[in-house]
Symmetry: D2
């Protein structure tokens, strides 16, 4: 089972068309990544940055938006890892509407392990590579 | 010459790592789309929605982030149209740092003409197709 | 006991200084208002707007920020109603850090019942006045 | 003449009610503060933080929202300083709609000079006190 987390579409997330503004959906995917670290990697993303000076910024994203999310929707976001490199990993995100399981959006993002002090790529520490592998058996 | 517009990275746009949070870069691209409509299509995006009940939501996005934008950067965003379908169009966005012209991010987005009342795709009106064509000769 | 809800400070909520950008704290208060409606008023804020064409925009806010919230904090927000007028109500919000109960921010906001079609003030329907009264006995 | 700057209400700034979500108006005031530093204080706010490790977070805000801003509006924001203390200053912000000069919102914010390393209040350096004084003669 891939990791999943739920969130609610908030008033401030929707645009004048009544739909969730698409940049906000990337924000949702990042929230899911933060929950993924806390639940699957044994460290919260904030401690990862503060204590280990390590982050996983997105260097590439490929996303599709199938069904508009609207204010009031509850969303389930699944996160899994489809490829693991030395200092990068490919994450798969899927956002579904809880009420009817409709797949609303998906993204495939390449995240790179970055030393927050040098702002350069660094090999992913083994403990996180192993955590990513545990979430890669979709 | 493709259409371009400039904006400044604001304090609230950058994250605790000091870099522009990547969902905000999609927000920048949308701001550039709004300016594109006002400058190249003869109508502001807000009047398009309000008066013609027409919008151009993003249904697919493929983006790369090459160089981090940081608080204080000024950004130039170019917008051009690489493909025009009946009710969709492919827009190319490039975000460069003004100080040294470094290409920081790019995106290829498919926008679909949507009737804002029915929330269904609709053929792009000729006047906007023609405006898109004028911006497609990169 | 006043109504309360919890949320987590997200990566995108904090600014380059590492602190939650103060406009985001007002966003947190609005999220708490949305939860307040769902839990205490028998209707979600989105259905209130969609079905009853009623909203409660803020017309006045007086806020203090005592202790910075930082990325990784969990926040508890309490909501209570300190005054109820014909078409307005005064809401009290308090944001505390869960880890040590430190009061980080508070706001006193005047919300006005607004008909979303006419965008004019309207008397607060009795059922919501009664719900507000139930939350006013601090 | 108080300092002023203009900005446009963006699609992503407005909520499902079609109005600018009120936390975004505080974001506008912060943008105006950033422009105020660049124009009136001889340093951009980002350099102030990066080079002098000095920021001016908001510790108190009192705001009123008179007329809703809507998507498509252009806004003029004036900034002046009404009181200058040792390590704090009271800033006055006014947001007017450019089309008809309607005063839409105002805020009185207390900003405190903060050392970004210690996160403690620090006396405002003389050069900034003097700049604030030049903008205080409303």
């Amino acid at each position: 089972m891939p990791f999943s987390t739920r969130l609610k579409v908030r008033f401030g997330d929707a645009d004048p068309a009544g739909l969730v503004y698409y940049p906000v959906i990337f924000h949702y995917f990042h929230i899911a990544l933060e929950e993924f670290f806390a639940e699957c990697c044994g460290i919260s993303y904030d401690r990862l940055i503060a204590d280990e000076r390590l982050g996983f910024p997105t260097v590439k994203s490929e996303a599709e938006f199938f069904v508009p999310l609207v204010y009031g929707d509850e969303v389930e976001i699944t996160v899994s890892v489809s490829k693991i490199g030395t200092s990068s990993a490919v994450f798969e995100y899927r956002a579904s509407r809880v009420s009817d399981h409709a797949l609303c959006a998906r993204a495939t993002n390449i995240h790179v392990a970055m030393n927050m002090d040098t702002r350069r790529a660094t090999p992913t520490p083994d403990k996180y590579r192993e955590a990513f592998e545990r979430q890669s058996g979709e």
